[in-house]
Symmetry: C2
Subunit: 396 residues, 2 copies
């Protein structure tokens, strides 16, 4: 009998359907040519980082002592970088943050993992809206807590507040939201955030303890709605923000993001300390130092997202014309259409026969849908449409 | 009553004596001038990265598509980078590693945290030699296991094998060694590693299960002994190596290292999967992508360590002349002299009166010593000597 950690073996072995699709895609590419494999499985930005990123990086390398540039920063992150991030948010959202509200992390996954560990005690529940980013479950269970899912409105993927109200109990430590959403692209309006805030305030009072809101915002800047995205902490006091520059600056590999702990949250000092403690406990020493500085100098920039909008419009319209039910994504670069049969895994196997690689919805906590990442070249989408048409035809 | 994770609050609050010393040093610097504060508390390399690092980094930025350079790599790390690392070790140690023996990490702390999580089940014991790097205890307890410490020979900080034999029990999952050692600078000879290997083989047989050896090697290249450092996995089959480029290339802020899982270890497939699973569970997505490539191209290089050797010789000889008992460090950039009184914390307070900032040994699991990091400018050491002399005089 193995004496290894069975949870880690199984997390590592069942690594992901996305990985399997990727390997399958490589095999098929060797046979039919890479141009004839249509991989919509991976959320890796295909739009380059802004040109300024290279200039800023090169200038830092040329103008600074390598000992300064490549040393450990403090565990929270370089002070000046955190200060720059605070100023940037204050300019954009009329907030009053300081460097000491920020804890820089190796991306949003690290930020989430850290915040959840900081909050969780054994037996706690974290509530999220399904479909949801699958790693929430991994991080919550790593912290010895339980993820409770509340289904979204299935037509729009907006919050079903009746369902959410029932999901929140005496055991609820925090609610996790993700807007713009992976995998659906749903964006919550300010009215939605206000309703959520009211519910959480009421439930906190009812249960006599704080219910925190974790706002997971790696797609914050990728929004197609006319109304700007509401700044969640301005609606609900007990909000912590998990952010990443992976998507806004197309720097997924740089592993840079942050946890924002506003001064107004309950038990601010202890909570910020717990965030530092969780970072330490998980083995994060500090966020990568060079890119702390690069992103702090470029947090007001974004990559050119017009290609994502163009891809979205093209896919949504084309798939709808073919008879797919597709909720309109208000942001991010994912589409979450209904599968053409109940079993999403059977459906994606049929899609694979047309060399269309798409992800079944089951691991997102929602059956009978598929996720398409449209952060791909537009011409790939254009050339894929006849494949989708053939696939749809099989079901008519 | 707080409902946050009390373990994380306390890990984050009692962040470290080193941090407090750092803050104290800043206060004193404002009063007496930074040149009159002698900070020996922090292990941040003061020797710059090799010149080639800047050239390699700039060339990567100039010659590659930013989408390629800044995308996620696979969770294990970029294949070509892992392949380069394998070739480099094979050239140096006559081994036969492949890319698939490597899992790239955000430094050695991440590597340790991941390996421990991969191995640990509730109730397991991990054994290390005290004094030891304090984060071992943090990572082992994060994994629900217990750190058991076995005292080193107090004169030399070499392994006391009688003590170690008693510390290993039926519950022992792994032994963690760190050579060259933080905080003592001790280096284990090949005879020592052979004796350790024999003991672990014997104990594995006695208890009927594998006892793994975790070799924590961030100081591998910083060695002052004539004999080359033995390659631990060549002596003991069930060895995993945790490595970092923080010290060898003075890239502590870049957060790059690896876990090496040789093909020969028991349950290789499951163990490598568990390493991947643990990385996922903790929120590591992939190691920073740009510096995966930078370090893979420069893993055969090191910073110029001659300054560390000079500092070591100067400090060891001077402190011995003053009457300190100092074990000779064979590597790394730490000195671990005996305090001049039993209570190390009282002793370092007296040192602070001379603006000498040194770390008491208690958090390293060994009383009555202090740690000096000599990765500082040589002239700082030279100017500090009269302070140490005055301090020593108080005890004569």
């Amino acid at each position: 009998m193995s004496r290894l950690s069975s949870r880690m073996v199984s997390l590592g072995s069942a690594r992901s359907e996305i990985r399997e699709l990727f390997e399958y895609g490589k095999e098929r590419a060797a046979i039919v040519g890479p141009e004839n494999v249509f991989d919509f499985s991976i959320g890796n930005p295909n739009v380059p980082a802004p040109d300024d990123i290279q200039a800023i990086t090169t200038k830092l390398l040329e103008n600074h002592d390598p000992v300064f540039l490549h040393s450990y920063t403090s565990a929270q992150g370089d002070f000046e970088s955190r200060d720059n991030l605070a100023q940037d948010l204050n300019n954009r959202f009329g907030t009053h943050y300081h460097a000491d509200n920020f804890y820089l992390t190796a991306g949003a996954a690290a930020a989430l993992s850290i915040v959840i560990q900081a909050l969780a005690n054994f037996g706690d529940e974290f509530v999220t809206i399904a479909p949801y980013f699958p790693e929430y479950k991994v991080f919550v269970e790593s912290a010895g807590a339980t993820l409770v899912t509340s289904p979204a409105e299935i037509e729009s993927f907006q919050i079903d507040f009746d369902a959410l109200e029932k999901a929140i109990t005496q055991k609820t430590k925090a609610v996790i939201i993700n807007t713009p959403n992976n995998p659906t692209g749903a964006v919550y309006s300010k009215e939605t955030i206000q309703t959520l805030a009211d519910l959480l305030t009421q439930k906190s009072e009812e249960y006599g303890h704080s219910i925190y809101l974790i706002s997971d915002e790696p797609y914050r800047e990728i929004v197609y709605t006319d109304e700007p995205l509401p700044w969640v902490p301005s609606y609900y006091r007990n909000t912590m923000v998990c952010y990443s520059f992976s998507k806004s600056l197309s720097l997924a590999g740089a592993r840079i993001g942050y946890v924002l702990v506003p001064r107004e949250v309950d038990e601010f000092e202890d909570l910020y300390a717990a965030v530092c403690g969780a970072g330490r406990s998980l083995g994060y020493v500090c966020a990568p130092s060079l890119f702390q500085r690069v992103t702090a100098q470029s947090s007001h920039l974004t990559s050119d997202f017009s290609i994502y909008r163009r891809n979205r419009d093209l896919l949504v319209n084309s798939l709808r014309d073919m008879g797919f039910y597709v909720a309109e994504p208000g942001g991010a670069f994912y589409l979450f259409p209904r599968a053409l049969e109940t079993d999403a895994r059977t459906f994606i196997e049929k899609a694979k026969k047309h060399d269309l690689l798409i992800v079944p919805s089951d691991s997102f906590g929602c059956p009978s849908h598929v996720r398409l990442s449209y952060c791909v070249p537009t011409e790939r989408i254009e050339r894929s449409l006849e494949r989708f048409e053939k696939l749809a035809k099989e079901y008519r």
